[in-house]
Amino acid sequence: MSGISKGGKKDTKMRIRAFPITMDEKYVNNIWALLKNAIQEIQKKNNSGLSFEELYRNAYTMVLHKHGEKLYTGLREVVTEHLINKVRVEVVDALRNNFLQVLNSAWNDHQTSMVMIRDILMYMDRVYVQQNNVENVYNLGLMIFRDQIIRFPLVHSHLRDTLLTMVAKERKGEVVDRGSVKNACKMLMILGIDSRSVYEEDFEKPFLIQSAEFYRLESEKFLAENSASVYIKKVEARILEEAERATHYLDKSTEEPIVKVLEDELIRKHMKTIVEMENSGVVHMLKNNKSEDLACMYKLFCRVPDGLRTMCDCISAYLREQGKALVTEDDNGTNAITFIQSLLDLKDRFDHFLHESFSNDRLFKQMISSDFEHFINLNPRSPEYLSLFIDDRLRKGVKGMSEQEIENVLDKSMVLFRFLQEKDVFERYYKQHLAKRLLLNKSVSDDSEKNMISKLKTECGCQFTSKLEGMFKDMTVSNTIMEEFKHHLQQSVTNLNGVELYVRVLTTGFWPFQSSLSKCNMPSAPNMAFEAFRRFYLGKHSGRQLSLQPQHGSADLHATFFGIKRANTGPMDLVDEGAASSSGKSLRRHIIQVSTYHMVILMLFNKKESWSYDEIKNETDIPERDLMRALQSLALGKITQRVLSKDPKTKDIEASHMFTVNDQFTSKLFRVKIQSVATKGDTEPERNETRNKVDEDRKHEIEAAIVRIMKARKRLQHNVLVAEVTEQLKARFLPSPVVIKKRIEGLIEREYLSRTAEDRKIYTYVA
């Protein structure tokens, strides 16, 4: 070997100048033989006697003199030969005996020796390998190991089977040597060089297949033996176990696919079964308020596509069934309060589940809303009942509820309100009930009322609430006017003949009454008092018209009842003290609180002792239906209410029947309130009447919408028009396409719209 001069300065790397001397064949072979021998020694783990520096230099020389290929090829041969003839034989021998350990140590040895070999041949790596685009030394070693050992059929299958068997054992609960599995997996990963393909093909794929099969069987067994909640917990446990297994001794990247397999086998394939399991599935959990179990199920089902949807569908069916049962009318008559309260309770229950178990998941939230919307509208009386419920809460005397509690209840009622499709029906009833509350002075507080109205305003806009607010204003204004009136009376020294008058002036448009169709003949005393007021009022507001509404209003009457029948019974309240005291204890005085109609009827008995029905009718001019009702409550109600007696003493009233004052009347109370026979909530004919009014209003609203839309758009196709109208009106009610069509036809007839000549399906606005 010619001399190789070292570089000038001493630094960390050895700088050897290239030497352009060619080598001869023999020389090269010698070098190679040296190297080959060294490699083999390394493989035999006899590297201690070798000089790294010398070997490196030799390799360097070879490459330098353009014999890299020989070196490379030779290397490959040596490694291959070693692996085949030595290592593989050992491994195969150990197939039944410590296989993994033997394999593992062979692998370790291989790695170690390859590292050393690589170090020696590093120059080749840097230069030859780069230039010729072949695998570097280390990787070459890996590939040979992979091809000759791992992929050797016997080894290949045995390795796979061993690993799988161990996993299977562990799944059954046995303890296995995790370390060797871990090493094997690591090895496979490394053997993939820059990919995980070896690991994947040799182990992971069969692993996943086996796992799928295993869990398929296990799921069936579990399901057959266990309740839903137990099953879920077991599934959770298994998922954790597999994830941990992957992290600890398989490769971490396997975690995701194996968990997916589990999710698939254990959950997705059995979703419906789990959810619908009798006596333990979702319905059972809901019935028994098992929020925790539901939460577990939710978490689990989150993992699979459509898992939540499956749960949701089942819950929805149950909810709809419950809701439907609540809204179906009882044959015994439905109490509006319990109707609504039960719906509120149901909502609370499911909101609780939504919060506790379903972490406010939007899918579930929407499901609950749409279900409520569905069944609340199954009963056409829902709007009326809701109004009655709110009415009840706003009335005086609702004990045990603080302002805050009332507020909460009202808020929840608003939630139900949003679900109503026929909001215009609700509006109508709410107006009626509010009017009653205001006039009879029954509101628990003005603040609560105003609060409710502002909630409605936020929901529905001003149009909805403007009239309600008008009603309130009327009340306030009336109070002011009464103050002024009192003042006026004092100043002008007007005598109302002992009648204490309180007038409330109502603006016609705001209040839901039929403006006075009902006239009746007022007795003179109250009539004169009212006239005084009328003069006063019209003096202040000329150009207005006041009409008394006798179907509303109330009166307090002083009544004197004479116990014994005497020959000359005088009129009720004009008896002088003297005569009264002489008759002794049987004289009773009461204050009777009555409606206006009652007052009109009763005061007749000041003029005459007995009246027939016909006579009363003619004298008072009260409409038949109201007259009947009034007489019924005066004469045919409870004993403690019978201020009048009727002859004959039958339950019905006929034209000829005679009415007299019931002098035998007694009551423990001084103030006796005569109840009207009226029922809470509408009766059947009243309901129909309301419904008719609603339908009438709707016709107008639909037509207004059609005209509005057509005026803006000029030309529209039929379907588009129907869709637009529905869209505009849906905040109040849901018009059917047929009804809209009828209105369109009506408008065509009245020449607001016409069909275009070219296409009869397109309408145009007729200006």
Binding site: H718, N719, V738, K741, K742, E745, I748, E749, R755, R760, K761
Partner: protein, 232 residues
């Protein structure tokens, strides 16, 4: 205007004579004359009203050899753009007869087939059909009462629409008390566009509710009769 030819007989002096005498073979070959037309008109005039009334029309029809309910009368009225059923004014008469180039009965008789044939033209038919509605309306009304509508419809659509009989049947048992213009027009459109088996009827076709209900009724009617095994 075609040139006027001198005539040898005096027509104006005998207003009561039958119109047949007004038109001899000779004049039938001559051109159209407004004067002759007017004279012809005056023949049927009622009193000094200036227009032909129901009696006059009856006579006119007799002369023509048709019943007053014949569809030809409708076509004539259409050409005249007559306003009221049962009455023709002079202007209307002149307008219509000028269009037809008829100033006497014979000429009109010759045009008979032409008039009938004109109904085969869809445009003409549609116009006549539509005209018939306004023509039959009584003053101030927006719709024809049911019997009138059915009668008029029979005149126009019987034999021209395969579902006509069923439609009348439906109308008679329905709650509709009259037909308004939009419904009238659409019945015709329906008869022209919708197949007898209703296969191309679509619910979103913006048909008046009257026709939607007819379709519903007809389909039920079909299934009922097919159950009984009666052929329609």
């Amino acid at each position: 205007m075609p040139p006027r030819k001198k005539r040898t007989y005096a027509t104006e002096n005998e207003p009561e004579t039958s119109s047949k005498r007004l038109c001899s073979k000779k004049s039938a070959d001559s051109g159209f004359s407004v004067k002759r037309c007017t004279t012809w008109f005056n023949n049927y005039c009622a009193e000094n009203d200036g227009s032909i009334g129901p009696d006059g029309i009856e006579r006119f029809c007799k002369d023509l050899g048709v019943e007053p309910e014949n569809i030809i009368m409708l076509v004539l009225a259409y050409r005249m753009d007559a306003k009221d059923m049962g009455y023709f004014t002079l202007n209307e008469w002149i307008k219509g007869m000028t269009y037809l180039q008829c100033d006497c009965i014979e000429k009109l008789n010759n045009k008979f087939d032409l008039l009938n044939a004109s109904l085969s033209d869809p445009v003409t038919f549609k116009n006549v059909y539509r005209f018939a509605f306004d023509f039959s309306l009584e003053n101030g009304n927006r719709s024809l009462d049911k019997p009138t509508a059915i009668a008029l419809m029979t005149l126009l659509l019987d034999g021209r629409w395969s579902l006509f009989n069923e439609f009348v049947q439906f109308l008679e048992q329905s709650k509709f008390r009259g037909i308004n213009k939009d419904q009238w027009y659409n019945v015709y459109e329906f008869s022209r566009h919708i197949l007898p088996d209703l296969s191309n009827y679509d619910e979103d076709g913006a048909w008046p509710v009257l026709l939607d209900e007819f379709v519903e009724w007809y389909q039920q009617h079909l299934s009922k009769t097919s159950e009984v095994g009666v052929s329609i």
